[in-house]
């Protein structure tokens, strides 16, 4: 029994509730938020691997004293193996995911505390709550617990949009909620069908029941459940047909909020995708459907990014497009492909957060996000401009950075899996990503400055620069030593095949 595993979820929730109580005490809130923020990435590093059973109700097989007095009809049946409690499983892959999520959350909170004037208020509360929810989604081995936190994550995302004072944020929030209120019950219906067929909500037990012939694996109810859970997955991560609303959500949030929101989507995508592959990989079409939607996300997301003029929309669509790479890795169905896909998830969460915060400085200085009205920002602040350029290079997959390693592995995996055409599409779309970024970069930083552009004479907070430096260092470290990440992801990937 490892107490640090539930603390990963409980700490941000407690901190969020506490911060909400301390209204108008800016200094206390700032200190508390920073301490809790530092703890977010540290706890997963300190915790031991293992399972956590809420209430301490371990399966009978792990609980010999209780199992002794039971009749043999129970100990000989599969009831002996079932998990009666809500289970959190924590292994090396979850450790890496939660570490990266905690890092992005800490840096986003750190930036927001320094950029916004008032530290107290619901914004910090929502950021902590969302982090707790997504951490629970990554940890949960219980599909209903996952649904509950999926809903909480969706509500906090809406809250983060409402807190920003960007134009039309309420309209986008309502649209996202209406779509969410259709998609989330569908996900719940899929979970209910799984529950009806297998009598269980624990993922390990569902897989046990399907693989050991306790239920008919080809039953149409399971096919329907697979379809409904896939639909919820598309909504939660913003794959087509939800790519437009998801990128609008990113563009309506403040830059640090958007950095955190995309990390939420990436990890929800990876965690739910892994669960879908775990449960339904035996169905012949699951992997094809995952590849199809991932390709659609890549093509639609990246080509639509090329057409936008608002730089927040550009990064929003790029973020959706880059999700496709993860899906392709998962859909290949080989250990190499899944490792590469999950590695890409980690990289994307870091790089997109880096880009959002980097371009956020432009918004901080000018208050404008339309690229047609911007220009000449290079002269204003060359240091930030170079950092943003490095972030863009990292996203496109240029050698010393981390995305290069994961994209290379993805292409190798696609050739190994006998799908070289996916590799070609990935290379082509990487080039388009780079073009999109260069176009945005040119219009914002290099083009001569328009006459009517007002630049606020206020220095960019040092916290923002530090944040970007930290992201750059993580990108470089993962780029030079990819085995740091792939070694921990490999175990999960091998278990899935």
């Amino acid at each position: 029994m490892n107490p640090l595993i539930p603390i990963m979820v409980i700490l941000p929730i407690t901190c969020a509730l506490l911060l909400n109580l301390l209204h108008n005490k800016d200094k206390t809130v700032k200190i508390l938020a920073l301490i809790a923020g530092v703890a977010l990435p540290l706890i997963p590093l300190l915790a031991n691997y293992g399972m956590h059973y809420f209430g301490g109700y371990a399966p009978l097989i792990d609980n010999p004293t209780l199992a002794q007095g039971l009749p043999s009809t129970i100990t000989n049946s599969s009831l002996y193996l079932f998990h009666p409690a809500i289970t959190y499983s924590f292994a090396s892959a979850q450790q890496l995911f939660i570490f990266v999520l905690g890092m992005v959350a800490f840096l986003a909170i750190f930036t927001s505390l320094n950029e916004t004037k008032r530290a107290s208020g619901v914004y910090t509360f929502l950021m902590f709550m969302g982090t707790a929810a997504v951490t629970a989604i990554v940890l949960a081995d219980d599909i209903f617990n996952l649904y509950v936190f999926f809903e909480i994550a969706a509500l906090t995302q809406v809250g983060i949009i409402i807190c920003s004072k960007v134009e039309n944020n309420y309209e986008t929030a309502l649209k996202y909620m209406i779509l969410g209120s259709i998609a989330a019950p569908m996900l719940l219906l899929g979970i209910a069908l799984l529950l009806g067929v297998t009598g269980n909500v624990n993922i390990t037990d569902i897989i046990f029941a399907i693989n050991h012939g306790m239920v008919d694996p080809q039953s149409p109810v399971l096919l329907l459940a697979c379809g409904l859970i896939l639909f919820g997955w598309l909504y939660g991560s913003g794959l087509p047909p939800f790519h437009t609303i998801k990128s609008a959500v990113y563009s309506k949030a403040l830059p640090h909020g958007a950095a955190l929101l995309q990390a939420f989507s990436v990890f929800t995508f990876a965690a739910l995708g892994v669960i879908i592959i775990r449960i339904f990989a035996y169905l012949p079409f699951t992997e094809t459907v995952v590849i199809f939607f991932s390709l659609a996300a890549m093509i639609l997301g990246i080509t639509m990014a090329l057409m936008q003029t608002d730089f927040k929309r550009i990064i929003g669509f790029l973020a959706v497009g880059e999700l496709g790479y993860i899906g392709l890795g998962l859909g290949m169905g080989t250990a190499l492909g899944i490792t590469a896909g999950l590695f890409q998830a980690v990289n994307e969460a870091i790089i997109t957060a880096f880009l959002f915060i980097g371009f956020g400085t432009v918004l901080y200085k000018t208050g404008i996000s339309d690229t047609n009205k911007l220009g000449g920002m290079l002269v204003e602040n060359p240091k930030v401009a170079i950092l943003v350029l490095l972030a863009g290079l990292a996203m496109a997959g240029v050698p010393p950075f981390n995305a290069f390693q994961s994209k290379l592995q993805l292409i190798q995996a696609s050739i190994n899996a006998g799908l070289p055409e996916l590799g070609i599409i990935m290379v082509l779309l990487s080039i388009v990503t780079f073009l999109t970024f260069v176009k945005a970069y040119y219009t914002i930083y290099l083009k001569p400055k328009p006459q009517d552009l007002q630049i606020i004479n206020e220095k960019i907070p040092r916290a923002t620069i530090i944040t970007m430096m930290v992201f750059l260092v993580i990108c470089l470290v993962l780029g030079l030593f990819p085995q740091l990440a792939t070694d921990s992801l490999q175990q999960l990937a091998v278990g899935l095949v």
């Binding site: 809903e151 309502l174 909620m177 969410g180 209120s181 019950p185 529950l195």
Partner: protein, 123 residues
């Protein structure tokens, strides 16, 4: 009766979900849309409850009166309680989502002066 309670209950749940999706997609009034969304949630909840129902069964609470009939009678006849525990959470989540949506609609009404989806959500 020609169809048994469980099947009829499944059909009711399906009717609610279909009606809710119809309302959420085709109604123009935002509050009507949200009413439709509430029906989708209700339908799914009813579906899960019906999964746990056992025709001719008893309530899954182990009352003292049942003790004399033996544990075996209880375990063979009680309804399956896991889905019911899930629905309790689901009802509360649904209600809080509705509240947030209606709050946003009130703010949007103050801004646009209308609650017609075509006018409010059109960018």
């Amino acid at each position: 009766m020609i169809i048994d309670t469980q099947l009829a209950s499944f059909f009711t749940a399906a009717a609610l979900i279909v009606l809710g999706i119809y309302g959420a997609v085709f109604m123009d009034n935002l509050i009507k849309k949200v009413i439709g969304l509430a029906f989708i949630g209700d339908g799914v909840n009813l579906f899960i409850i019906t999964l746990g129902y056992k025709p001719g069964g008893i309530v899954y609470i182990y009352l003292p009166e049942l003790a004399e009939m033996g544990k075996a009678f209880f375990t063979q006849n009680a309804a399956y309680p896991l889905p019911f525990a899930l629905v309790l959470t689901s009802i509360v989540i649904g209600a809080s989502t509705m509240a947030v949506m209606l709050g946003i609609i009130i703010v949007l009404y103050k801004k646009h002066g209308t609650i017609s989806a075509a006018k409010v959500l059109d960018e």
